[in-house]
């Protein structure tokens, strides 16, 4: 008889392809209670749990799973929340397969515990039940400003408010959430969940000022004059990279940021009920192989494209996207052209995109990232006819705020340099974390950075 501990991992129930590609609703539907409890019982409760080390914020994973196995759902949620303030989000978008689940002992011989599914189950349980109003601590009256409302900023704000600081989040866009609202699509992360997390942070007494660009509408100096004593910069890596190839400004070519922002933040998928339009041709190509590329391709499909392909210069093995999401994209019929790299974009007389010329690649020697460097095969150029194209090759730091802070030390690539231990930047009282420090990374690492900075800001202000 096979050992159920090794093979019992549940499959995530998800909506059928035919159904889901026609709307923007969430694809995986979550584990039923019995499956979650069964799965939790499979956990070996290791004395020296590897999973905790695999977690960027060191959630007590065996701890919460143990409570879940005993049916103590509320206590289990509380256990997660000791370290992770956004479990409903992380349970959906964390790359568990590279983190906690990757080092689960059970995974060595069979299948690792589905830590992510369990986290999501508990977070959804709590949401369905209705999250009680938190206790609002007495204010110590000291003001802290948070720049950016992505996962790092929201977490930092929440943690500081819980210990009595008067916190205000300043957000450039008209809605809070950062990439969670403008980047990650509804079918992967419902916006109602993000809104709930934002509301929770607000219920702790945090003020949220949207449509306020720090560096333009207000400067850090203005805020200091108004009594702000410390700051956290969590402004993300929002600057889209382009390929700098001929024809890149043709109509029909989007950066992934623009494409996803139109669809997610501006709700172009509900045009004309919502005013912001989006153009979607019959044939769509997406350049890139990460989560952002997958999200763009799957969004294009749902917006009505007949054919969507990914163009990626390495092979599937090197794709940085989450395996689960790459698989779903493939199931949905997205065609992946590997070892292919664009060389120019071809337009018609009215400057509308008609095709992309690509060149075949092969893998050469390993580069500094350890991945084999793709090199072009001479003479292998060919044209793919497309009407819409999304460039999803990565993002950089947005210089808008940074330019106004000449004393802020940046690294070679333009990201903020911090003290790893504290999150402190080169300007006293100014802390930073998330993508603006690490470059495009993950929700959980941004959240962890926000937590760490909150502790350091508290120390800093107590000493001040």
């Amino acid at each position: 008889m096979p050992d159920s501990r090794l093979t019992g991992r549940p499959k995530m129930p998800q909506r059928s392809v035919a159904e889901r590609i026609r709307d923007f609703n969430e694809v995986p539907v979550g584990l039923p209670e019995w499956a979650a409890v069964d799965e939790a019982r499979r956990c070996l409760q290791c004395k020296k749990p590897g999973c905790m080390k695999g977690c960027p914020v060191e959630i007590d994973i065996p701890g919460f799973i143990g409570l879940l196995a005993q049916g103590k759902f509320d206590a289990a949620v509380a256990k997660i929340k000791e370290k992770n303030s956004l479990p409903a989000i992380c349970g959906r978008v964390c790359p568990q397969e590279e983190q906690c689940e990757n080092v689960c002992v059970l995974g060595k011989k069979g299948q690792p515990i589905a830590v992510g599914y369990l986290e999501r189950f508990l977070a959804d349980y709590e949401r369905d039940k209705g999250i009680g109003a938190p206790e609002i601590p007495t204010s110590n009256g000291r003001k802290v400003g948070i720049i950016g409302s992505g996962p790092s900023g929201l977490t930092c704000a929440g943690d500081l408010a819980k210990i009595g600081y008067r916190v205000t989040i300043f957000e450039a866009l008209h809605a809070a959430g950062g990439v969670l609202v403008y980047g990650i699509p509804e079918f992967r992360l419902p916006k109602a969940i993000v809104a709930q997390e934002v509301n929770f942070v607000k219920s702790l007494g945090v003020d949220l000022e949207v449509s306020t660009v720090i560096g333009k509408t207000l400067t850090l100096e203005d805020l200091k004059d108004d009594g702000y004593e410390a700051f956290f910069i969590g402004s993300g890596a929002g600057l889209p990279h382009f390929m700098n190839l001929p024809g890149e400004n043709l109509n029909g070519i989007y950066s992934a940021n623009e494409f996803l922002t139109r669809s997610n933040l501006m709700k172009a998928f509900r045009f004309p009920q919502y005013d912001t339009p989006i153009k979607i041709g019959r044939k769509v190509a997406v350049i890139g192989g990460g989560n952002v590329a997958m999200d763009s391709a799957r969004t294009a499909l749902r917006l009505g494209a007949e054919e969507v392909c990914l163009i990626y210069r390495r092979t599937k093995k090197e794709m940085p996207a989450r395996i689960e999401e790459a698989e779903r994209a493939e199931e949905e019929g997205i065609n992946c052209m590997i070892l292919t790299n664009p060389v120019r974009f071809i337009g018609n007389d009215n400057k509308w995109l008609r095709g992309v010329e690509c060149i075949q690649m092969e893998l050469g020697e390993p580069d500094e990232s350890g991945r084999r460097r793709p090199v072009p095969v001479p003479g292998s150029e060919f044209v793919i006819p497309v009407d819409t194209l999304v460039v999803a090759i990565g993002q950089g730091p947005n210089p808008l705020l940074l330019e106004t802070l000449p004393d802020l030390q940046l690294n070679r690539r333009g990201y903020i340099v911090i003290d790893e231990e504290t999150g402190a930047t080169s300007i006293p009282g100014v802390f930073a974390g998330g993508d603006i420090v690490t470059g495009a990374a993950t929700v959980i690492s941004a959240m962890g950075a926000g937590k760490k900075a909150a502790r350091s800001i508290d120390h800093y202000l107590l000493r001040k």
């Binding site: 008209h174 501006m266 339009p277 153009k279 400057k351 210089p399």
Partner: protein, 293 residues
Amino acid sequence: MILFEQEEIIVAKILRKEILTPQIKLMVVHAPRVAHKAKAGQFVILRINEEGERIPLTIADFDPREGTITIIFQEVGKSTMQLGEREEGDDIQDFVGPLGKEIEEKKFGHVVCVGGGVGIAPVYPKARALKMLGNRVTSIIGSRTADLLFWEDMMGSVSDVLYVTTDDGTYGEKGFVTSVVERVLKSEGADLVIAVGPIMMMKMVSLLTKKFNVPTMVSLNPIMVDGTGMCGCCRVTVDHQCKFTCVDGPVFDGHLVDYDELLARQRNYLDEEKRATETWLMKKAEEEVRHAG
């Protein structure tokens, strides 16, 4: 400090509305933070309601003491028509700025300011700023026909000399602004030309000033989404390089802009805009009928 009195500061209220021409409207909006920081050349982005798009509009005037920003817009599609229906006392849901870079404010000498159509509005604060610094300002404003002309008095008040043209000759000189620009450049020359208006006008003015070797600034208005450098929708080619208008501009060296590309990019959503406008007008008409019945 006035900038931080919460709530009422954050919602932008329309204090005054003026109908400049049948299709061009002016609104004075209470937005103290934006007004406090605004400089000539910058713009705001606003959103009327939850379903609304983010509309970029150049700041036509600002008053830091009163805490107001003046915007002027032409009703060209659903969003601007809907904005035009807003009345004094109404709020604008989102109003963010000032965005973009300001123009260089210094003494150039003789500056020629050219405003075409609704472009007269964004030219005004630039002329005013440069006039205050002691530049000699010659302004040339033009529109298709007399009915579409506005702010002649405002432009006059910040210019040493003002020329007015209409394409059909119903007011001022008959013809295009470019012919006056040429005349001025021939007779007295200029140290700087600033041109704001339809893309074709800015292109023609730039071609002309290139011949005379006069430095030229133009203010571009491509389609935008966020206005903070996050999406690249507003990209233009300037000097063979890709620039983001919302953060690198909106003012650029007129001699280096790829106008043809800009023109094509501005037409990106013509079909959708038409559809949105038609759907909206239809809905309004239906509602009126229902009301009447």
